[in-house]
Amino acid sequence: MINSFPSIKRRPKPGLSPESNDQTQTQPVSFELKRNDKYYAWLFLGPSLLLLSIFVFYPMLRTFYLSLFLTNSFGEPTVFVGLQNYIHLLRTKSYLASLQATGLYVVGVTVFTLIGGLLLAAVANQKVRGIEFFRTIFTSTMGVSVSVSAIFWLFMFNPSIGVLNKVALWLHLPAINWLTEPHWAMVAVIMTSVWMHLGFTFLIFFGALQSVPKTLYDAADVAGTNRRYQFVHITLPMISPTLFFVAVITLISAFKSFGLIDLMTAGGPTNATNLLVYRIYQDAFVDGNYALASTESIVLAVIITAITVVQFKLLAKRVNY
């Protein structure tokens, strides 16, 4: 999507524009510019490179460095242990459970966000009166931050006064201990996260649906195909780059979930929703085990970098449908 901008011919061939014919006049200008460029480059790039070095590159290297040591309570390295931290981590049952829970959460959030977003976009892509009103509502969760979402949903999940259990009661279904039963707590955070992601996903999918050329559907109508056939054979292939793009964005965003977990479950019950980032926070800033937390950070960084690299690779291939 982003890298598919048409490339613009940077330098016109000599003779195409009238100015470049006059060699004697442009020569000194470009010479002066070259000397100038170096000075400007330092000035323009300096601040960003400095900031990125201090707050992105250095911490990444430092995190890796710390993951090879044992650390004291100030986070300073004490004993070099090589890859022992990693071996220890991958043998820790509760960490493997965390990885598994994160996997479940991330896949759940991504799949349901994609399905929900696509459904909303398809429904909003009809021509009926008042459709603008519905489109506005569908985008509304974009304006909701993590804390507000968590608070609103916590109220709905409340076992005694929450709406969800009241509906269950009304339907003669058993009340659910949302947030205190491990499986339901996972369901609850996934639901909340999907809701939060829906607004943005809807907006992107809706834009993609609108950009599918109408002539394709007209031709398919003439050929006598039905709507479902058209959806599978025209709509999906046409919007597949967007689908893929949103899937990756949602996946990465879900991997980084922290606020929702912190407010809704604090990793519980019995670590059922103790996702990777929440665990890093707890190990580092609650337990003071910086070496372990650094090791976990590197695992997280590797996972997210791998997803991003795959995205870039596939996007470069698939965008030219």
Partner: protein, 280 residues
């Protein structure tokens, strides 16, 4: 015969229309139910909410309490200041860096760009430990600066604006060179105005990103005077939830209403801006 067929077609079309609206309404209701419940209960007395009742005497009581007894306004103000500073800093530092990558010629330009690109992949959450130690060593903890200085530039912004600047016809640059415009003049008079839409999109993206920050302010600020709104709500929630649902709901509503208004108001522009980016 023909008449009844036409009649049936009309009925069928009506049923289809009703079904369409039914589906739209059900989906819309699912989406806005959390808002409606949150707003509704924010007007109810806490005693009623605690009993699990959704009816009671509606009043502004919770809002009055939120404004007078909690620092919610201060939280909002803090977030506004921090988000605006971050937004303008991103626009400035990312745009000059992007300018360098497109219009300046210097050694290792491509390599440096790949370095910036690489930073986009690294999750901030994985770098939080050394960053915390860095700002502690700089004595920035519990200070506005701690929420601003690490986020003054944006690799994503540089990447995005580089794409935008590349769209500027090279002829314009050559004409500017002939006219003797300096880089700074070309940046201000041509590059920036030419990329208005991208700049606005980055502004919205940066502002929202900053507004939604949660982990970093939670680690680095400890006083109500400085707390941004996400962290402030977390604080209110942990202090009041068990006893005062009404107050918590009202505080959440106070936070969400301005963003919803901006979103609905900016809707039209926002949609066209995003589409412009995604069509090609």
């Amino acid at each position: 015969m023909e008449n009844t067929l036409g009649h049936q077609a009309i009925i069928r079309r009506r049923v289809a229309l009703v079904l369409k609206y039914l589906v739209l309404s059900v989906l819309a209701l699912i989406i806005i139910l959390p808002f409606i419940l949150g707003l509704w209960t924010s007007f109810l007395p806490t005693t009623a909410i605690a009993k699990g009742s959704l009816s009671g005497v509606m009043s502004w009581q919770n809002y009055q309490e939120a404004f007078t007894q909690t620092p919610i306004l201060r939280y909002l103000f803090n977030s506004l200041v921090i988000s605006l500073i971050q937004m303008f800093a991103h626009l400035f530092f990312a745009s000059i860096a992007a300018y360098a990558f497109v219009f300046l010629e210097f050694k290792y330009r491509e390599q440096l760009f790949y370095v910036v690109l690489a930073t986009m992949m690294l999750p901030f959450e994985a770098e939080v430990i050394p960053n915390f130690h860095t700002v502690r060593a700089m004595h920035l903890l519990d200070h506005y600066a701690v929420m601003v200085i690490p986020f003054l530039t944006s690799a994503f912004g540089i990447f995005m604006l580089r794409q935008a600047f590349k769209q500027i016809p090279w002829d314009l640059k050559e004409a500017a060179d002939v006219d003797g415009l300096s880089h700074w003049q070309f940046y201000r008079k041509v590059a920036l105005p030419y990329s208005r839409i991208s700049l606005l999109t980055l502004a919205a993206y940066s502002f929202l990103g900053s507004w939604n920050q949660y982990l970093w302010p939670m680690l680095t600020t400890f006083s109500n005077r400085l707390r941004p709104v996400q962290d402030g709500l977390r604080q209110l929630h942990s202090e009041e939830t068990a006893t005062n649902w009404g107050l918590v709901q009202a505080s959440a509503a106070i936070v969400v209403i301005p963003t919803l208004i901006v979103l609905f108001w900016g809707q039209h522009y926002f949609k066209s801006g995003l589409n412009e980016g995604s069509v090609k």
